[in-house]
């Protein structure tokens, strides 16, 4: 597949497409937690690092196959999401944000001191198993399952929690359980993305999963539109490509990046695709016809 694609686009773009795919998986996971369920989580990179280190150690030290290692990383991250979700999801808004920032930092500091993970140097020498094809097949599967979930009774319950937790309880939704579920799935997906990342780059270090990475993922969700699957995909596209294009303006890169976000938030406070529904588009179209 890669060989085939390389006839049309050069390696640089192929690389960007792979990173976009990994970022889509990250954004979709966080979208489930923050966009759909409304629980502001700011430590998503922490779950990514757990998946990345676990998968890398499984292939490097234990010689396990890539598939098993990926799954192992995702399950480990999901397990952490579950364990952290239980006590923290009682907290609301700002408190939850602070606790999740703290979690992300604790995980980073842990890996800085983690012998088996190479401390500050990180891990290197992983075989680059991750290909364009693996990433995008996973993206497609995850998008389809995610769409199924959001259309089901469980998905509606998650949206209901975001909209009004007390009313959701009154409809028979065990809100604590559903929040923990969203958190666990989101962490699982971050872990999967981490494993893919580790075996694409071939090396990982704690600084790859710092607070800024969590913010970057959050930006993708917010920019695309909270709770929207196409939104998260678009957000991941734009925020992966934008920094690349802004390389031209080099040292003003962060400035442009920030300004872009501010402008978008002024003109589309709900995100690019937030609250955009096929139904509304059709209605608008019909009105114009008449």
């Amino acid at each position: 597949m890669e060989g085939f694609l390389l006839q049309f686009i050069d390696a640089y773009y192929l690389r960007i497409l792979v990173i976009i795919g990994i970022n889509i998986i990250l954004a979709l996971g966080l979208n489930l937690i923050t966009g759909v369920t409304g629980q502001l989580s700011m430590g998503h990179a922490g779950f990514m690092s757990i998946g990345a280190y676990t998968a890398a150690i499984l292939t490097l030290q234990f010689g396990l196959s890539f598939g098993i290692a990926l799954l192992g990383g995702a399950v480990m991250a999901g397990l952490f999401g579950f364990l952290i979700g239980i006590p923290t999801l009682r907290l609301e808004g700002d408190y939850l944000a602070m606790v999740t920032i703290g979690f992300g930092e604790i995980i980073r500091v842990f890996f800085l001191n983690f012998e088996l993970g190479g401390k500050a140097t990180g891990l290197y020498g992983m075989t680059k198993y991750t290909t364009f094809t693996t990433v995008w097949i996973l993206v497609i599967i995850i998008v389809l399952l995610n769409a199924k979930l959001l259309k089901s009774r469980h998905g509606r319950a998650l949206y209901a929690i975001r909209e009004n937790e007390i009313a959701a309880e009154a409809a028979g939704v065990n809100t604590t359980l559903m929040k923990v579920l969203a958190f666990t799935i989101g962490a699982f997906l971050a872990g999967l993305a981490g494993g893919l990342y580790a075996h694409y780059m071939g090396y990982i270090a704690p600084k790859d999963f710092a607070f800024m990475k969590s913010i970057e993922i959050l930006n993708m969700v917010v920019l695309g539109g909270m709770g929207s699957i196409p939104g998260s995909i678009l957000g991941a596209f734009i925020l992966t490509i934008a920094p690349e294009m802004l390389r031209i303006v080099d040292e003003y890169r962060l400035l442009f990046y920030g300004a872009l976000l501010v402008i978008l938030m002024i003109f589309r406070p709900n995100g690019l695709l937030g609250n955009v529904r096929i139904y509304d588009l059709k209605k608008r179209f019909r009105k114009k016809e008449v």
């Binding site: 009774r153 009004n164 007390i166 959701a168 309880e169 009154a170 409809a171 028979g172 809100t175 609250n275």
Partner: protein, 254 residues
């Protein structure tokens, strides 16, 4: 049979006694009114019955099962539906989805059967959609089913809350000031709706309402709260002529 029984319910918020050993029994098939001045503790009573608060003292029973410490979602699943005084719709969900969420507590398809789109999940989803549309038809909102709930007019939002509560197929329905903000023709329609759903779904209804005309017209029994205490109980005629009630509450209106 008593569908709902409260025994000496007391609720304290810090130093404030919002409810002071209130006891009540609500018989099946009744429309039971709860009236009283602002801050009397009516909404607090609803919040205790639906498990949002656990009472400081006292016990409550739903169909002979003690539910004093039962969590809110489990009480809902037992068949206690409610609407809220300060409307609590899922604003950025469609009108139809609001009602569909309402049926969460009585549906059972599992997480994985939904993910995999198994026949059972599909069948249940289809049934939920049909039933939800019927309920929207009943409250006259089927035309606006695709609109966001928060875009509806006030009266429509109140009726959507009723449809959502009915989706739970409750046997006990709690309505907290359903007529608030409605004009007199809407109030008449609401009265018909309440009587209609009571018959159609075989409901017992607990009604908090400030509109005395409506309360006196549709309630079989009425309890009067004042400063957290039950000061009277009886049929509309009895309550209307009760000295204490006239002094503390009705007197203000007449």
């Amino acid at each position: 049979m008593a569908v709902l029984k409260l025994e000496g319910i007391t609720q304290e918020f810090g130093g404030l006694r919002a409810l002071d050993s209130v006891s009540l029994e609500v018989e099946a098939g009744n429309i039971f009114g709860i009236i009283g001045p602002n801050g009397a503790g009516k909404t607090t009573l609803f919040n205790i019955i639906t498990g949002i608060y656990t009472p400081t003292e006292g016990n409550l029973f739903f169909k002979d099962e003690m539910i004093t410490n039962t969590s809110a979602y489990n009480i809902a699943r037992l068949g206690v539906g409610r609407t809220f005084q300060n409307i609590r719709l899922f604003g950025k969900l469609s009108v139809l989805d609001n009602v569909k969420v309402g049926s969460y507590g009585i549906t059972s398809s599992s997480f994985f059967s939904n993910l995999l789109g198994l026949p059972k999940a599909k069948r249940e989803e289809k049934l939920v959609t049909e039933k939800s549309l019927e309920l929207l038809e009943l409250v006259g909102l089927v035309e606006v089913r695709h609109e966001y709930a928060d875009s509806l007019a006030y009266g429509d939002q109140r009726r959507l809350e009723i449809a959502r509560a009915l989706a739970l197929e409750p046997s006990l329905l709690l309505l907290d000031e359903p007529a608030a903000g409605m004009n007199s023709s809407e109030k008449l329609e609401l009265m018909e709706l309440i009587n209609g759903i009571k018959e159609q779904f075989d409901l017992t209804i607990l009604l908090v309402e400030h509109d005395m005309n409506l309360v006196m017209n549709i309630c079989d029994l009425i309890a009067v709260l004042d400063y957290g205490k039950k000061i009277a109980e009886g049929n509309p005629v009895e309550v209307k002529s009760d000295e204490k009630v006239i002094m503390s509450y009705l007197g203000v209106e007449i």
